[in-house]
């Protein structure tokens, strides 16, 4: 049994990583074979991560190690938290790969595109199952490199600069984080997370590691690379926002700061305030911007604040709320970006003031957009409602009424800017360049799927919640 689980975990990590290396080879055969092969690898990753769900639902926890030199053991840990993250990320990632078939079909360098996207997903899988700080860092930086290459995918000078910005900012954070890891190593003498549960760590290490997480998860004041990264192909943006990149930081937060270490009291009080401030600032920026993708990017920054908030208040409700939030936000935000992709694909216009009346020509996209928007705002019966509700309630339960009020105010702003987009893009007078048609079949299929999943995730919320509750119990076990 245990062996089976080990094999499945290793498959989940290495199928996408090794598979990505075979993409250029498949590309030699034919375009069609390459695309087919990419989708297959992405689906296989999803399937294998899903095979772990029964194990996680039983409350199973498994850690195994491959001893390497210098104490750098490759430690793999599978518990409800890592399985939840792996399933959410790989599933949304696979949907985005399917969507790419239509979106990226006319671009050059497709071999590179699929190669890097799969490597990216693989790095995420490696990260969530690693329980060794050094290996976490390794996968962290693989993701950063993949992200850099994908943002600059179109090779325009300006885009490459934005990609550099993203890379430099996240790299700065990562190096700070590595310093933090070294500080911890100096204190404990190990990089193995399983051996460090409940260790109190110094405030300076918290600060350094937090810089890494905030830069990766684009939280104020290290967030501005994310809106700029919108120059990437929309599929990439969706991938960064919903499936892999920005979720790395929050996952690391859950794994390190909730699951493993004990933070100094001052940081425990400060972090909720910092992240809510981040939510507010970015929601405000989203309300001001006019570029469709920049608004959505700021929206992600704003929602990430909630995820951090739930983890930071450290009670079962908050932790399960945040985990659910990762799933719900992933589904809905991927849907929003991919809808934006359909719009941009058809109109070549990103300024919402120059768009309008698209509901007539793109009814499916419009429907999917509003569904996903409802979920991001947090309106029942969509999934986003439950996660946001739980995070807010947990914040109040931890005694932070004002923080919760500020978070709800950010939700009001969310409502405002998402309706602003919807009204400007889909309603009102038709845009001057009329005659737009719906996106290709695979594109529309994926956005509608995401929208329907956002709804189903709300109607059948009990199932993901079950896993999230188990994960929350495991994460907080050392506190009781």
């Amino acid at each position: 049994m245990t062996n089976n689980i080990q094999t499945i975990i290793l498959l989940t990590i290495f199928v996408p990583i090794v598979g990505s290396l075979t993409i250029p080879l498949a590309g030699l055969i034919s375009k069609r074979a390459r695309s087919f092969w990419s989708v297959l690898i992405a689906l296989a990753t999803t399937a294998s991560s899903m095979l772990l769900i029964p194990f996680a639902l039983r409350g199973g926890e498994l850690a195994f190690r491959k001893t390497l030199a210098l104490g750098l053991d490759f430690v793999v840990v599978a518990d409800a938290l890592s399985v939840f993250m792996a399933v959410a990320s790989s599933f949304i990632g696979a949907l985005i790969v399917v969507y790419s078939l239509g979106y990226i079909a006319h671009e050059e360098n497709q071999n590179e595109y699929y190669f890097i996207v799969l490597l990216f997903i693989g790095a995420m899988m490696g990260l969530v199952f690693s329980a060794n700080l050094v290996f976490m860092y390794l996968f962290w930086e693989i993701a950063a490199i993949a992200c850099w290459r994908l943002i600059g995918f179109y090779r325009v000078r300006d885009h490459v600069l934005k990609a550099d910005k993203a890379f430099l900012m996240t790299f700065f954070g990562a190096v700070a984080m590595l310093l933090g890891f070294i500080l911890i190593y100096a204190q404990t003498g190990t990089f193995d997370l399983t051996a460090m549960r409940g260790t109190a760590i110094p405030g300076i290490a918290v600060l350094l590691i937090l810089l890494g997480m905030f830069s990766k998860s684009a939280t104020v004041p290290l967030h501005t690379w994310l809106p700029d990264a919108g120059v990437a192909p929309t599929t990439v943006t969706a991938l960064l926002h919903a499936a892999v990149l920005v979720k790395i930081g929050v996952y690391a937060y859950a794994r390190l700061f909730s699951y493993t270490f004990q933070l100094p009291e001052g940081w425990q009080q400060a972090i909720p305030i910092l992240v809510v401030f981040s939510s507010l600032v970015s929601a405000a920026a989203a309300a001001v911007e006019n570029d469709l993708k920049r608004i959505l990017a700021y929206s992600t920054v704003s929602q990430i604040g909630y995820i951090f908030l739930g983890f930071a208040v450290m009670n079962p409700m908050g932790v399960s709320g945040s985990l659910l939030f990762i799933l719900m936000h992933g589904l809905a935000k991927a849907g929003l970006f991919l809808c934006a992709g359909i719009i941009i694909h058809a109109t070549h216009e990103r300024d919402i003031r120059k768009l309008g009346g698209l509901i007539k020509t793109m009814p499916w996209t419009a429907g999917a957009f509003i569904f996903c928007a409802f979920s991001v705002i947090g309106i029942p019966p969509f999934g986003g409602f439950f996660s946001k509700f739980m995070v807010i309630v947990a914040t109040v339960q931890s005694g932070r009424v004002w923080v919760a009020a500020a978070a709800l105010f950010a939700a009001v702003l969310t409502m405002y800017y998402l309706f602003r987009i919807f009204s400007a893009v889909f309603m009102g007078e038709a845009a001057p360049a009329s005659g737009h048609r719906e996106g290709t079949r695979s594109m529309v299929f994926v956005v509608v799927t995401l929208a329907v999943l956002s709804l189903l995730a709300g109607l059948f919320v009990a199932y993901p919640t079950k896993l999230a509750n188990i994960a929350a119990g495991e994460i907080l076990r050392w506190i009781q």
Binding site: A285, I377, Q397
Partner: protein, 621 residues
């Protein structure tokens, strides 16, 4: 009763909604037939639930104390009955009134979804399912308003944003209450509002009264009166939202919190109620469009319910709740009558209408009865419930609230004299020469509602004993008599006499205005409209200066620009400018060192060697 049956009032409308969504839009007859029959079945279910034993249905849901728990008891039975009744009447009405609408399939779908979620919200006995259904209503409201067609989207967004804001307030209130009491079950909570729980009370109160349409959260209603289909207006702001909002408010004031007479929260609620009565009725008075006039009354009347419940005195509370059901009946009837006029005459502008009573006798009869009821004319239901509110507010000792309520009564009657006079009496206008009576599915609901207004007035014992007393029983202090029927229609007491006097004043006002306006009924409110100070205030109100939504959006935008300009952009500038400059300066300095001169590099190499030797020496010592 089998507890699982409690799911029927939610699942039945849900199935009907799905049926309508899935049925191809070309099939019209079948959709209408199934909708009417389904709605009738819904009524049957609600009737069969009525009077039954208290039933509890629990399903584990999300852990953390979040269960899917439904509870059927006297109060929810009563509201459920009302919800189903209105659903049926509106569906029946819609078969004719909405026929030909291109989005009929969605219309019935959202209508039944609204019914399903309302039933869920009424039955919920745990805050999470409550909020789930309660806030879900935002979506159907949004969708139903957009069915109104061109230009309605703006109003729909407005309704959604206002509702969303207030629901978020309620969520915060629930969260606070939860953290204070440690339970999510409504039936387990009973606290005195003070300190943090008082904050929770106010927040939840905002959620409840905003749903009911109280000021200052009402401003989408007059807009929707113009943009949304009239059946939607009769269904949601006139009936369902009042039922839900006031139901919730009663739960908050009676169960969740123990509201004391004249305590601060009670006074806040009464003040808000009194302001709503007076300000909204002033706006209603000067309206020139029948639907808009009605919509402002839909706001104003909420004030009576809030005032009644805010008294925290049995007769006041009973009056508030009774007023809720009465209002739902006559206001829905009035909107339906307005819709009937609109369909036949093509307009609801008072100026273009006139003398329709002869050609539309049944619509006119329904309208007049409902208008008399809302104005509080003896012996209709509005008289009974308003008297109870007057008595309750008078008993608190704050006569100012009673006076505000009387002022509201004067202007209500005056504005309905104006409306009824303009539409149904006086000379026929040229535009409406060939108008005929509407078809039976339109006038039957109107007449049913009008008949109920008479019934609930004359035989007020029926609703009071059947619906209202069981709700209060067990909550009022021992020994307090809960039989309000004995002198419900009594006229010879000071309060009732003053109320009657108010109606006379209203009549005089109307007559004066009618004469001054050159015998044109639609100008009857002009003397008040033109009063020196009032005129300025009216102008500002018409310019939406007092519209909290418009101002709030401006505030949001200003707040956003502030944060964007002074926090977000400077942070980005730090990376784009400062960091880049530093980097450039550093690389520039290093570049300058590499000047290509042999001697320079030699010096560096020697210097490096010296350092290494020194370091080795230091380490080996």
């Amino acid at each position: 009763m089998n507890p699982q049956n409690l799911l029927i009032p939610i699942l039945l409308p849900l199935l009907l909604a799905l049926f309508s969504f899935l049925l191809p839009s070309g099939i019209k007859r079948l959709r209408e037939i199934v909708s009417v029959l389904g709605a009738a079945l819904f009524v049957y279910v609600a009737v069969s639930f009525f009077g039954g034993k208290e039933t509890l249905f629990t399903l584990p849901w999300m852990g953390h104390g979040i269960d899917f728990e439904l509870r059927l008891y006297q109060f929810s039975q009563f509201i459920l009955l009302a919800v189903s009744g209105f659903t049926f009447l509106i569906v029946l009405y819609s078969t004719v009134r909405m026929a030909g609408n291109p989005r009929l399939r969605e219309y019935y779908g959202y209508l039944f979804l609204t019914a399903a979620m309302s039933a869920g919200a009424v039955l919920a006995n745990n805050f999470v399912p409550l909020v789930f259904f309660w806030e879900g209503l935002l979506i159907t409201l949004y969708a139903l308003i957009t069915i109104g067609g061109k230009g309605s989207h703006r109003t729909a967004v407005k309704a959604f944003l206002i509702g969303g804001f207030c629901d978020f307030c309620m969520i915060l209130g629930i969260a606070i209450l939860w953290s204070q009491t440690g339970t999510l079950r409504l039936s387990d909570i009973s606290v005195v509002p003070q300190g943090l729980t008082a904050v929770s009370f106010y927040l939840m109160m905002i959620g409840a009264v905003a749903k009911a349409g109280s000021m200052p959260f009402h401003t989408w209603i007059p807009d929707a009166a113009v943009d949304a289909p009239v059946a939607v207006m009769a269904f949601i702001p006139a009936a369902l939202e009042k039922l839900l909002g006031i139901y919730m408010l009663s739960r908050i004031c009676l169960d969740l919190f123990r509201l004391e007479v004249n305590s601060a929260p009670a006074l806040v609620l009464m003040t808000l109620g009194a302001l709503t009565i007076v300000l909204a009725v002033f706006m209603a008075l000067i309206q020139k469009d029948l639907k808009k006039l009605l919509s402002f009354h839909a706001v104003s009347q909420v004030g009576y319910m809030m005032l009644g419940i805010g008294t925290a005195i049995p007769i006041g509370i009973a009056g508030g709740i009774f007023h809720m059901i009465n209002h739902a009946m006559y206001k829905s009837g009035l909107f339906l009558a307005a819709g009937s006029v609109e369909q036949q005459a093509g307009t609801t502008e008072l100026k273009k209408l006139g003398g329709l009573a002869r050609s539309m006798p049944l619509t006119a009869l329904g309208f007049i009865v409902c208008a008399a009821a809302i104005s509080g004319i003896w012996p209709l239901n509005g008289f009974v419930s308003k008297e109870m509110v007057f008595h309750g507010s008078y008993e608190t000792g704050f006569t100012i609230f009673t006076i505000a309520a009387w002022l509201g009564a004067i202007l209500t009657f005056a504005s309905f004299l104006k409306a009824g006079h303009s539409v149904f009496f006086g000379p026929r206008s040229l535009e409406t020469a060939a108008v005929k009576e509407s078809r039976s599915p339109i006038y039957i609901p109107i007449l049913v509602l009008a008949a109920l207004c008479v019934l609930f007035g004359v035989y007020n014992a029926l609703p009071l004993k059947l619906f209202i007393q069981p709700i209060l029983a067990g909550r009022a202090a021992a020994g307090e008599h809960l039989d309000f029927t004995a002198h419900a229609l009594a006229v010879f007491n000071p309060i009732a006499l003053i109320s009657m006097g108010c109606l006379l004043i209203a009549f005089a006002l109307h007559y004066f205005g009618f004469r001054r306006g050159g015998n044109k009924a639609y100008l009857a409110s002009e003397p008040i409209h033109r009063l020196p100070v009032l005129r300025t205030i009216y102008d500002l109100a018409e310019a939406r200066v007092f519209d909290l939504y418009e101002q709030g959006i401006k505030g949001l935008q200003a707040f956003s620009r502030l944060l964007f300009r002074f926090v977000d952009r400077p942070i980005d500038a730090f990376y784009e400018k400062f960091v880049v400059q530093i980097g450039r300066a550093a690389t520039g300095a290093l570049k300058a060192v590499h000047n290509g001169l042999y001697a320079n590099y030699l010096a560096w190499a020697v210097g490096g060697l010296v350092i290494i030797v020194w370091a080795i020496g230091a380490l080996t010592r």
